[in-house]
């Protein structure tokens, strides 16, 4: 096998790493234009996928690193989104700049994370899952009903006409032409999301490989032994909830500005389960795996949406099964298959670590 040493040599070559990185960077920069030539809808889908990656990375801290099952994670997304919506829309006639509201949304979500974490510290596994599930629903129901007697959230109608993000003089909601290229709103948001995503990935990698990250792993592995090693499990678990929630809040704020509209129905149990499925399917605890999981689960259903209908039309001449039904069917099947054949996820974390060690030796 002559290829293997070649790949190995490339992998060890510092120049190859730089060139590889540069190629990936260029591809990421050009990606939205390539997608825009197919249809602007695909850029939007890409942006939604990136929001889901952000969410999955946040949930991965709670579920993957610290091993605390959270079924209500979308609540933090909701909190971030509503903080943005309330402070940058005609609803209260407030129009604060994004660099105030995005961090504020993350902070408020962080507070809610601690609020959820504190009473559930003694719970584990199924019990914790049930409480977090309830928490997620409570937030959604509050958003639905906080319109009377004082109208705070505008109830099920949601909040519309949310300000887009403005950086300097650039409005991310508008289309502009620079250097002969058309930068549509979604494309500009894509670049913002790419920046945020890079930062969040770096933060995740650094946290994982740190004293706190090891404490999270210790708790996940054996809580009694972790306590016997002097780890204050109360504080460290709260930290996991708070960090995860902050990322959820940040993504929520971005979501609100991109959509321009939020309503409680975007933050249901299905969304919580979807984000959890991304983390589990990709490989709990492995940042790369989680990204792959989030990308797959965001894109594949969209692909199906665009292929199922024409396929049935050409095969049978009419629609037999609604695309939405088939989508969920295939989605469920895919999940069952992955769990059967790759129970640790598509890119499990421990295996990757062992592979890396073999590569070094």
């Amino acid at each position: 096998m002559p290829e293997l040493p070649m790949i190995e040599r490339l992998r060890r070559h510092p120049k190859a790493a730089w060139i590889g990185g540069a190629l990936v960077a260029i591809a990421l920069l050009l990606l939205p234009f390539a997608l825009a030539s197919v249809g602007t809808a695909w850029v939007r889908i890409l942006n939604v996928a990136m929001l889901f990656i952000l969410l999955s990375l946040g949930l991965n801290i709670v579920v993957g690193f610290a091993g605390l099952l959270d079924l209500g994670y979308i609540a933090f997304y909701a909190v971030g989104a509503y903080v943005y919506a309330l402070l940058a829309s005609p609803h209260f006639n407030l129009h604060l700049p994004f660099w105030v509201i995005l961090p504020l949304g993350a902070l408020v979500a962080c507070g809610f994370g601690v609020l959820l974490g504190a009473p559930t510290l003694k719970l584990r596994g199924d019990y914790l899952a049930i409480v977090t599930l309830g928490f997620g629903e409570i937030i959604r129901i509050f958003l639905n009903n906080l319109s009377r007697p004082v109208n705070i959230t505008n109830g099920p109608q949601g909040i519309a006409r949310i300000d887009p993000i403005r950086i300097g003089g650039i409005d991310l909601g508008n289309s502009e032409t620079w250097l002969g290229l058309t930068f549509s709103g979604p494309i500009k948001y894509y670049y913002l999301l790419l920046l945020v995503l890079m930062a969040v990935i770096v933060i995740n990698l650094r946290l994982q490989d740190s004293r706190i990250g090891r404490a999270w792993e210790a708790i996940r592995e054996d809580e009694v032994a972790a306590r016997a090693m002097g780890i204050n499990t109360t504080r460290v678990k709260l930290l996991a909830f708070a960090m995860g929630a902050s990322f959820g809040g940040l993504s929520g704020g971005l979501f609100a500005s991109i959509q321009g509209f939020v309503s409680p129905e975007s933050f249901g149990l299905t969304e919580s389960v979807m984000v959890l499925a991304m983390v589990v399917l990709g490989g709990m605890g492995n940042i790369r795996g989680v990204i792959v999981g989030a990308l797959l689960l965001s894109f594949v259903p969209e692909l199906l949406r665009y292929t199922v209908e024409p396929l049935q039309k050409t095969l049978f001449g009419k629609m037999l099964i609604e695309p939405e039904v088939i989508r969920m069917l295939l989605f469920g099947l895919a999940l069952v298959l992955v769990m059967l054949y790759r129970p640790a996820g598509l890119l499990p974390s421990a295996v990757r670590r062992r592979e890396l060690d073999e590569g070094r030796a």
Partner: protein, 264 residues
């Protein structure tokens, strides 16, 4: 040189109607290897769990280096200087050997979330120091070559050593070992005795529960014997061996002079 590292007096603990510990007192001198023995169900592990904060005591007091140990939680006990291993080994099974020991440094290091996110110079120095210390300890217990292996893949004897290395990483004053020789063969047991002496040579006091009488008698400076949650004897191995109360507890007759046979 009779400084006491740990004293406990009048410690009692009950579970429902069962009095697991009654008025147990102990005084351990710094630098000793101290044995805790007794028939099955005598309350040895319960006493360990009370000392290390895993159980809260019903009454009694514990002092470490003359300072009372107030908070009854494992992390408080560890920070005060009592580290332990478990009867049924409790490693972080899916993490690497090195990571297991690095986690042991948690209580003696400071870096928080923001230091980690920003990779502050202080945090990087601390990380390097944690890893260096962990590798040093792995070399000390003879597991340096295993650093990158997954903990669960180690053979039993090495898992015991890893658990000891992890406990040593917490810079303990007192190292409490719960049946460290259980399940070991003769040569592993010999190596373990050597390791425990090496730990003592570093100035760390060792408290151990053990059923292997030969091991305890040859290794320990002093021994406390528990039976039905009470202290029935205390002294040097020679004194304890001759104590009729001990012989009676182990054999129930007072005939034999070899308590080891009954426990083995």
């Amino acid at each position: 040189m009779t400084e006491l590292v740990l004293t406990a007096s009048g410690v009692a603990k009950s579970f429902g109607g069962i009095q697991a510990l009654q008025d147990v007192s102990i005084a351990i001198r710094r630098g000793d290897i101290y044995g805790l023995i007794g028939p099955n169900g005598a309350g040895k592990t319960t006493f360990f769990n009370v000392l290390t904060g895993l159980y809260s005591r019903d009454s009694g007091s514990i002092e470490l280096n003359g300072a009372p140990l107030q908070a009854q939680t494992p992390d408080a006990a560890l920070v005060a200087g009592v580290a332990r291993t478990f009867q049924n080994i409790r490693l972080f099974a899916n993490l690497s050997v090195l990571e297991n020991v690095m986690i042991g440094r948690h209580a003696r290091t400071r870096a928080g979330v923001f230091a980690a996110i920003l990779r502050l110079p202080s945090q990087r120095r601390e990380e390097a120091a944690i890893e260096a210390r962990a590798r040093e300890l792995l070399a000390f217990v003879g597991l340096a070559h295993r650093a990158n292996d997954v903990a669960r893949s180690l053979p039993y004897g090495e898992q015991r050593r890893l658990e000891i290395a992890r406990a040593l990483a917490t810079d303990p004053q007192l190292l409490a070992l719960d049946e460290p020789a259980a399940g070991m063969n003769a040569s592993e047991t010999r190596d373990l005795a050597q390791l425990i002496r090496a730990i003592r040579a570093q100035g760390i006091t060792v408290l151990l529960i053990e059923h292997d009488m030969k091991f305890v008698m040859s290794l320990c400076d002093r021994i406390l014997v528990l039976d039905y949650g009470r202290r029935i004897s205390e002294g040097t191995p020679a004194e304890v061996r001759k104590d009729p109360a001990v012989i009676d507890a182990y054999l129930g007759t007072g005939q034999a002079d070899e308590p080891g046979r009954a426990a083995a």
